[in-house]
Symmetry: C2
Subunit: 225 residues, 2 copies
DNA sequence: TAGTAATTCAAACAATTGTTTAATACACTC
DNA sequence: GAGTGTATTAAACAATTGTTTGAATTACTA
């Protein structure tokens, strides 16, 4: 009298396993063991392993169709504080990712190995991050830069965060375990990246002011020689 | 009358294959076929597949050291210029995709998914690289921060560069092809990352000055109540 | 040149993989 | 309740993996 059919149990068991180990390293026997079904069941119900993976991907997408919303900031939150919140959120959701549900992790895995035509999915997930970030940058700079500069700034901030995901293992090997435990927690990292990026932004803002000044110099305020 | 011994041919053949497919997906038979040796040769000369991988990594590092030595800066180069040079060098080493030598791909693979073979790599290759960057940072700040902060700064700069390598695909999805062609050349990126990082460093330097001031306030300049 | 050590080779080995099979158990209809 | 189609099972299968074996060949030395 099991609530879920064998097919459902396989699908539900496969998702998290695929999400954490990927397609290649996941064995059908492991899935069947987790789903408590016979080894032949995958082939009986899904045809083959690949089709099961596809179904798991589809299921993940259905379950996560709606975008995960960003926190809504009230009006009294300063742009600087928003940036701090954004960086912490990015670190939390994409870098650590343990807190993310398996559906997201599975989809993200697909993102990292861009073999399939899952392009729109990628856009849907990452585009809001970048857009949101750039609008915060606009606020901080009190100025909307040309797109390519906005993008470069966005990638500078995202890149700092992503590095802890992409090279996280290497980083943990390069510094002492003690330092890693104490100084590379999410909040520590968010603080540093926040400060570093605020500095970078301020430098850019000042260079804007300079260029504007020099531009107005050239235009209307020629210094008499 | 072959110039290269079987052992050498195996090593030379293994490098590019490991680099393009990774350790798991590379089969010993493929390597042996490429090296034109018997299947048993790997085990005879190297013991097992894993040791061959380690040797290939070591070779990659040696070749890379010879190919791209670090520039020796003269005394009149300012720390800021050194940072600019460092960033450009890093970008040049890791971002260029086409005509990219297998040594880089193999090394970067190890960065993202380190195996046991990564330990000596870190000590001999990556650590000195990070140290170099951090010493430049020390010069710019005219102050040696605690290690964890030096590391975080180093990772912030390296992370910005790495992002264009690791997420290059996603980046090209986020921006128009036109913008990508015109504004994301290596020199453009180096300029931006350089400026952004200089700003970040300046922010940190000022926070040092502030904390030193407030520290001296507390220590020797107590305000009479 | 004879002999010994090092190397190469085809073949087999053991383990793991995804998949198939054929018998059995179950569920449902008439 | 017999019959029929579906579902489950243990076992085997075929393919691939890294590795080992033992004989054959080569290279080197005394």
């Amino acid at each position: 009298m099991k609530q879920e059919s064998a097919k459902e149990r396989i699908l539900l068991a496969a998702g998290p396993i695929f999400a954490s180990k990927g397609f290649e390293k996941t064995t059908v026997r492991e899935i069947c063991s987790a789903a408590d079904v016979n080894v032949a069941s995958i082939n009986y119900h899904f045809g083959d392993k690949k089709e099961l993976y596809t179904q798991a991907l589809i299921l993940a997408r259905q379950l996560r169709e709606e975008q995960v919303p960003f926190p809504a900031w009230t009006d009294d939150v300063t742009p600087d504080e928003k940036l701090r919140g954004f960086i912490a959120l990015l670190l939390q959701r994409i870098v650590v990712m343990q807190t993310e549900p398996w559906e997201i992790r599975l989809l993200l895995r697909e993102v990292m190995h861009p073999t399939d035509a899952a392009r729109p999915l990628i856009e849907n997930y990452f585009r809001p991050f970048l857009d949101r970030l750039m609008s915060i940058v606009d606020e901080i700079l009190e100025h909307r830069l040309p797109d390519h500069q906005r993008h470069q700034i966005g990638f500078s901030i995202i890149g700092q965060c992503m590095h802890y995901r992409v090279s996280g293992e290497m980083i943990s090997m390069m510094i002492s375990e003690d330092e890693y435990q104490n100084c590379f927690e999410i909040q520590n990292l968010a603080d540093h990246i926040w400060r570093f990026s605020l500095g970078g932004l301020r430098g850019i803002r000042e260079s804007i002011v300079d260029s504007q000044l020099s531009a107005s110099d050239r235009l209307s305020n020629q210094v008499p020689s």
